[in-house]
Protein backbone atom coordinates (compact mmCIF):
# COMPACT_ATOMS: atom_id res chain seq x y z
CA UNK A 1 0.00 0.00 0.00
CA UNK A 2 2.88 2.33 0.74
CA UNK A 3 3.76 2.61 -2.93
CA UNK A 4 0.42 4.09 -3.73
CA UNK A 5 0.88 6.60 -1.03
CA UNK A 6 4.25 7.87 -2.01
CA UNK A 7 3.95 7.96 -5.75
CA UNK A 8 3.81 11.22 -7.62
CA UNK A 9 0.22 12.41 -7.78
CA UNK A 10 0.76 14.16 -11.08
CA UNK A 11 1.39 10.83 -12.70
CA UNK A 12 -1.85 9.41 -11.53
CA UNK A 13 -4.25 12.24 -12.11
CA UNK A 14 -6.81 11.18 -14.64
CA UNK A 15 -6.46 14.25 -16.79
CA UNK A 16 -2.80 13.92 -17.57
CA UNK A 17 -2.94 12.51 -21.03
CA UNK A 18 0.63 13.09 -22.08
CA UNK A 19 1.58 9.50 -21.26
CA UNK A 20 -1.41 8.00 -22.98
CA UNK A 21 -1.25 6.65 -26.51
CA UNK A 22 -2.81 8.63 -29.31
CA UNK A 23 -5.56 7.59 -31.73
CA UNK A 24 -3.03 5.94 -34.01
CA UNK A 25 -1.92 3.51 -31.31
CA UNK A 26 -5.51 2.83 -30.31
CA UNK A 27 -6.37 1.84 -33.85
CA UNK A 28 -3.29 -0.37 -33.99
CA UNK A 29 -4.39 -2.12 -30.77
CA UNK A 30 -7.88 -2.55 -32.17
CA UNK A 31 -6.44 -4.20 -35.28
CA UNK A 32 -4.50 -6.63 -33.12
CA UNK A 33 -7.68 -7.35 -31.15
CA UNK A 34 -9.54 -7.97 -34.38
CA UNK A 35 -6.87 -10.43 -35.52
CA UNK A 36 -7.00 -12.25 -32.20
CA UNK A 37 -10.77 -12.47 -32.46
CA UNK A 38 -10.47 -13.88 -35.96
CA UNK A 39 -8.06 -16.47 -34.59
CA UNK A 40 -10.57 -17.35 -31.86
CA UNK A 41 -13.39 -17.79 -34.30
CA UNK A 42 -11.18 -19.89 -36.55
CA UNK A 43 -11.28 -22.66 -33.93
CA UNK A 44 -14.88 -23.10 -34.97
CA UNK A 45 -13.90 -23.81 -38.56
CA UNK A 46 -10.45 -25.36 -38.23
CA UNK A 47 -9.65 -28.34 -36.03
CA UNK A 48 -6.85 -27.45 -33.62
CA UNK A 49 -7.21 -30.70 -31.72
CA UNK A 50 -6.18 -30.71 -28.10
CA UNK A 51 -4.58 -27.30 -28.50
CA UNK A 52 -7.85 -25.53 -29.20
CA UNK A 53 -9.02 -24.90 -25.64
CA UNK A 54 -5.67 -23.76 -24.22
CA UNK A 55 -5.35 -21.52 -27.27
CA UNK A 56 -8.77 -20.00 -26.66
CA UNK A 57 -7.98 -19.35 -23.02
CA UNK A 58 -4.67 -17.68 -23.88
CA UNK A 59 -6.28 -15.54 -26.56
CA UNK A 60 -9.02 -14.51 -24.14
CA UNK A 61 -6.38 -13.53 -21.60
CA UNK A 62 -4.42 -11.47 -24.12
CA UNK A 63 -7.55 -9.64 -25.27
CA UNK A 64 -8.56 -8.98 -21.69
CA UNK A 65 -5.17 -7.57 -20.74
CA UNK A 66 -4.95 -5.46 -23.86
CA UNK A 67 -8.33 -3.82 -23.42
CA UNK A 68 -7.73 -3.27 -19.71
CA UNK A 69 -4.15 -2.12 -20.19
CA UNK A 70 -4.58 0.24 -23.11
CA UNK A 71 -8.23 1.22 -23.47
CA UNK A 72 -8.76 1.44 -19.72
CA UNK A 73 -5.32 3.01 -19.31
CA UNK A 74 -4.27 0.58 -16.60
CA UNK A 75 -0.72 0.59 -17.97
CA UNK A 76 -0.47 4.31 -17.49
CA UNK A 77 -2.49 4.83 -14.32
CA UNK A 78 -1.74 4.17 -10.70
CA UNK A 79 -1.12 0.55 -9.81
CA UNK A 80 -3.94 0.66 -7.28
CA UNK A 81 -6.55 0.52 -10.06
CA UNK A 82 -4.98 -2.56 -11.52
CA UNK A 83 -4.87 -4.19 -8.11
CA UNK A 84 -8.57 -3.52 -7.60
CA UNK A 85 -9.45 -4.94 -11.00
CA UNK A 86 -7.22 -8.00 -10.89
CA UNK A 87 -7.90 -8.50 -7.18
CA UNK A 88 -11.59 -8.81 -8.02
CA UNK A 89 -10.89 -11.00 -11.04
CA UNK A 90 -8.60 -13.49 -9.31
CA UNK A 91 -10.70 -13.46 -6.16
CA UNK A 92 -13.72 -14.42 -8.24
CA UNK A 93 -11.84 -17.08 -10.19
CA UNK A 94 -10.47 -18.61 -6.99
CA UNK A 95 -13.76 -18.71 -5.10
CA UNK A 96 -15.86 -19.99 -7.97
CA UNK A 97 -13.25 -22.52 -9.05
CA UNK A 98 -13.30 -24.05 -5.57
CA UNK A 99 -17.10 -24.02 -5.62
CA UNK A 100 -17.27 -25.76 -8.98
CA UNK A 101 -14.66 -28.32 -7.98
CA UNK A 102 -16.50 -29.14 -4.76
CA UNK A 103 -19.84 -29.36 -6.55
CA UNK A 104 -18.57 -31.40 -9.49
CA UNK A 105 -16.18 -33.82 -7.80
CA UNK A 106 -17.16 -33.99 -4.14
CA UNK A 107 -20.92 -33.71 -4.28
CA UNK A 108 -23.60 -36.31 -3.86
CA UNK A 109 -24.57 -38.61 -6.75
CA UNK A 110 -27.74 -37.77 -8.67
CA UNK A 111 -30.74 -40.04 -8.46
Amino acid sequence: MSTTETHDPAQAAGGHVDHHPGPREYVRIAIILAILTALEVSTYFVDFGALAIPLLVVLMGIKFVMVAGFFMHLRFDTKLYGRLLYGGLFGAIGLYAITLIVMSFDGAPRV
Partner: protein
Protein backbone atom coordinates in the same frame (compact mmCIF):
# COMPACT_ATOMS: atom_id res chain seq x y z
CA UNK B 1 -7.75 19.44 -14.86
CA UNK B 2 -9.08 19.01 -11.36
CA UNK B 3 -7.31 20.97 -8.73
CA UNK B 4 -8.92 18.79 -6.13
CA UNK B 5 -7.18 15.66 -7.32
CA UNK B 6 -3.88 16.89 -6.00
CA UNK B 7 -5.38 17.40 -2.61
CA UNK B 8 -6.62 13.88 -2.02
CA UNK B 9 -4.54 11.43 -0.04
CA UNK B 10 -3.60 9.22 -2.97
CA UNK B 11 -3.67 11.99 -5.55
CA UNK B 12 -6.55 10.24 -7.27
CA UNK B 13 -9.98 11.50 -8.14
CA UNK B 14 -12.67 10.12 -5.86
CA UNK B 15 -15.01 9.26 -8.68
CA UNK B 16 -12.47 7.40 -10.74
CA UNK B 17 -11.24 5.51 -7.70
CA UNK B 18 -14.85 4.72 -6.83
CA UNK B 19 -15.47 3.42 -10.33
CA UNK B 20 -12.49 1.08 -10.12
CA UNK B 21 -13.53 -0.15 -6.70
CA UNK B 22 -16.97 -0.91 -8.12
CA UNK B 23 -15.61 -2.64 -11.22
CA UNK B 24 -13.45 -4.90 -9.05
CA UNK B 25 -16.58 -6.14 -7.32
CA UNK B 26 -18.41 -6.77 -10.61
CA UNK B 27 -16.25 -9.82 -11.30
CA UNK B 28 -17.84 -11.51 -8.30
CA UNK B 29 -21.23 -10.72 -9.86
CA UNK B 30 -20.61 -12.09 -13.33
CA UNK B 31 -18.40 -14.86 -11.99
CA UNK B 32 -21.32 -16.40 -10.11
CA UNK B 33 -23.51 -16.44 -13.22
CA UNK B 34 -20.70 -17.89 -15.31
CA UNK B 35 -20.15 -20.60 -12.68
CA UNK B 36 -23.82 -21.55 -12.71
CA UNK B 37 -23.70 -21.69 -16.50
CA UNK B 38 -20.65 -23.97 -16.48
CA UNK B 39 -22.22 -26.16 -13.81
CA UNK B 40 -25.37 -26.61 -15.89
CA UNK B 41 -23.71 -26.96 -19.29
CA UNK B 42 -25.04 -30.51 -19.70
CA UNK B 43 -28.21 -30.06 -17.70
CA UNK B 44 -30.56 -29.47 -20.58
CA UNK B 45 -33.54 -31.52 -19.36
CA UNK B 46 -33.99 -32.96 -22.83
CA UNK B 47 -34.17 -29.52 -24.42
CA UNK B 48 -31.67 -27.82 -26.72
CA UNK B 49 -28.09 -27.44 -25.50
CA UNK B 50 -25.00 -25.62 -26.70
CA UNK B 51 -25.47 -27.02 -30.22
CA UNK B 52 -28.08 -24.31 -30.68
CA UNK B 53 -25.42 -21.57 -30.76
CA UNK B 54 -24.74 -19.84 -34.03
CA UNK B 55 -21.04 -19.13 -33.59
CA UNK B 56 -20.53 -17.07 -36.79
CA UNK B 57 -23.44 -14.81 -35.88
CA UNK B 58 -22.29 -14.31 -32.28
CA UNK B 59 -18.75 -13.71 -33.52
CA UNK B 60 -19.92 -10.76 -35.54
CA UNK B 61 -21.82 -9.14 -32.70
CA UNK B 62 -18.88 -9.84 -30.35
CA UNK B 63 -16.61 -8.15 -32.84
CA UNK B 64 -18.91 -5.12 -32.99
CA UNK B 65 -18.83 -4.81 -29.21
CA UNK B 66 -15.05 -5.14 -29.18
CA UNK B 67 -14.70 -2.39 -31.74
CA UNK B 68 -17.01 -0.14 -29.74
CA UNK B 69 -14.21 -0.06 -27.18
CA UNK B 70 -12.02 1.53 -29.85
CA UNK B 71 -14.53 4.26 -30.59
CA UNK B 72 -15.03 4.76 -26.88
CA UNK B 73 -11.36 5.34 -26.25
CA UNK B 74 -11.21 7.61 -29.28
CA UNK B 75 -14.09 9.64 -27.82
CA UNK B 76 -12.19 10.01 -24.59
CA UNK B 77 -9.06 10.94 -26.46
CA UNK B 78 -10.96 13.59 -28.41
CA UNK B 79 -12.41 14.94 -25.18
CA UNK B 80 -8.97 15.29 -23.60
CA UNK B 81 -8.00 17.31 -26.66
CA UNK B 82 -11.12 19.44 -26.14
CA UNK B 83 -12.35 18.35 -29.56
CA UNK B 84 -16.02 18.11 -28.63
CA UNK B 85 -17.26 17.63 -32.20
CA UNK B 86 -15.18 14.46 -32.68
CA UNK B 87 -15.90 13.38 -29.15
CA UNK B 88 -19.66 13.49 -29.80
CA UNK B 89 -19.22 11.63 -33.03
CA UNK B 90 -17.31 8.80 -31.40
CA UNK B 91 -19.76 8.67 -28.50
CA UNK B 92 -22.63 8.20 -30.93
CA UNK B 93 -20.63 5.58 -32.79
CA UNK B 94 -20.02 3.71 -29.56
CA UNK B 95 -23.66 3.84 -28.52
CA UNK B 96 -24.62 2.74 -32.03
CA UNK B 97 -22.37 -0.30 -31.89
CA UNK B 98 -23.73 -1.09 -28.46
CA UNK B 99 -27.22 -0.94 -29.93
CA UNK B 100 -26.18 -3.25 -32.77
CA UNK B 101 -24.85 -5.71 -30.21
CA UNK B 102 -28.06 -5.52 -28.19
CA UNK B 103 -30.11 -5.94 -31.33
CA UNK B 104 -28.08 -9.01 -32.17
CA UNK B 105 -28.72 -10.39 -28.73
CA UNK B 106 -32.46 -9.82 -29.00
CA UNK B 107 -32.45 -11.51 -32.38
CA UNK B 108 -30.46 -14.43 -30.97
CA UNK B 109 -32.84 -14.80 -28.03
CA UNK B 110 -35.82 -14.79 -30.38
CA UNK B 111 -34.31 -17.49 -32.58
CA UNK B 112 -33.50 -19.62 -29.54
CA UNK B 113 -37.02 -19.24 -28.23
CA UNK B 114 -38.42 -20.40 -31.52
CA UNK B 115 -36.13 -23.41 -31.46
CA UNK B 116 -37.45 -24.42 -28.05
CA UNK B 117 -34.87 -22.93 -25.71
CA UNK B 118 -36.62 -20.74 -23.19
CA UNK B 119 -35.91 -19.56 -19.66
CA UNK B 120 -38.05 -22.23 -18.02
CA UNK B 121 -36.80 -25.08 -20.18
CA UNK B 122 -33.81 -26.24 -18.15
CA UNK B 123 -31.10 -25.05 -15.76
CA UNK B 124 -28.86 -24.70 -18.81
CA UNK B 125 -31.35 -22.39 -20.48
CA UNK B 126 -31.85 -20.36 -17.30
CA UNK B 127 -28.10 -20.04 -16.84
CA UNK B 128 -27.59 -18.92 -20.40
CA UNK B 129 -30.41 -16.40 -20.60
CA UNK B 130 -29.86 -14.83 -17.20
CA UNK B 131 -26.08 -14.53 -17.66
CA UNK B 132 -26.21 -13.02 -21.14
CA UNK B 133 -29.33 -11.08 -20.19
CA UNK B 134 -27.59 -9.36 -17.28
CA UNK B 135 -24.68 -8.60 -19.56
CA UNK B 136 -27.13 -7.13 -22.02
CA UNK B 137 -28.61 -5.04 -19.22
CA UNK B 138 -25.15 -3.69 -18.50
CA UNK B 139 -24.76 -2.78 -22.18
CA UNK B 140 -28.16 -1.11 -22.09
CA UNK B 141 -27.19 0.98 -19.05
CA UNK B 142 -23.96 1.87 -20.86
CA UNK B 143 -25.92 3.08 -23.88
CA UNK B 144 -28.11 5.21 -21.61
CA UNK B 145 -25.00 6.69 -20.01
CA UNK B 146 -23.45 7.41 -23.41
CA UNK B 147 -26.61 9.06 -24.72
CA UNK B 148 -26.95 11.23 -21.63
CA UNK B 149 -23.29 12.17 -21.91
CA UNK B 150 -23.93 13.09 -25.52
CA UNK B 151 -26.91 15.27 -24.70
CA UNK B 152 -25.19 16.88 -21.74
CA UNK B 153 -22.29 17.96 -23.92
CA UNK B 154 -24.82 19.55 -26.24
CA UNK B 155 -26.42 21.55 -23.43
CA UNK B 156 -23.02 22.52 -22.08
CA UNK B 157 -23.55 20.70 -18.83
CA UNK B 158 -20.50 18.56 -19.57
CA UNK B 159 -17.73 20.95 -20.46
CA UNK B 160 -14.64 20.43 -22.61
CA UNK B 161 -12.40 20.34 -19.55
CA UNK B 162 -14.45 17.61 -17.91
CA UNK B 163 -13.01 14.69 -19.78
CA UNK B 164 -13.05 12.70 -16.55
CA UNK B 165 -16.76 12.14 -17.10
CA UNK B 166 -16.11 10.59 -20.47
CA UNK B 167 -13.28 8.57 -19.00
CA UNK B 168 -15.52 7.19 -16.24
CA UNK B 169 -18.21 6.09 -18.68
CA UNK B 170 -15.44 4.71 -20.85
CA UNK B 171 -14.12 2.60 -17.96
CA UNK B 172 -17.57 1.14 -17.47
CA UNK B 173 -17.98 0.51 -21.18
CA UNK B 174 -14.61 -1.21 -21.55
CA UNK B 175 -15.39 -3.30 -18.51
CA UNK B 176 -18.63 -4.51 -20.08
CA UNK B 177 -16.58 -5.31 -23.14
CA UNK B 178 -13.95 -7.37 -21.34
CA UNK B 179 -16.68 -9.29 -19.57
CA UNK B 180 -17.99 -10.18 -23.00
CA UNK B 181 -14.48 -11.22 -24.05
CA UNK B 182 -14.70 -13.79 -21.27
CA UNK B 183 -18.30 -14.75 -21.98
CA UNK B 184 -17.68 -15.21 -25.68
CA UNK B 185 -14.92 -17.71 -25.00
CA UNK B 186 -16.30 -19.45 -21.95
CA UNK B 187 -19.97 -19.52 -22.86
CA UNK B 188 -19.85 -19.93 -26.63
CA UNK B 189 -16.55 -21.11 -28.06
CA UNK B 190 -15.24 -23.62 -25.52
CA UNK B 191 -18.57 -25.44 -24.93
CA UNK B 192 -19.01 -25.61 -28.66
CA UNK B 193 -15.63 -27.29 -29.00
CA UNK B 194 -16.36 -29.62 -26.10
CA UNK B 195 -19.62 -30.66 -27.67
CA UNK B 196 -17.89 -31.55 -30.94
CA UNK B 197 -15.19 -33.50 -29.15
Amino acid sequence: MTAGVHETTLGLDHRKLGMWVFLGSEFLFFGAFVSAYILYLDTTAGGPGVEIFDIPFTSISSFVLLMSSLTMVLAHNAHTRRDMRRMRMWILATAGQGAVFLGGQIFEFTVFYKEGLNLTQSPFASGFFVLTGFHGLHVFVGILLLLSLYSLTLTGKVKPDQDLKTEMIGLYWHFVDIIWVIIFTVVYLIPDLLMEA
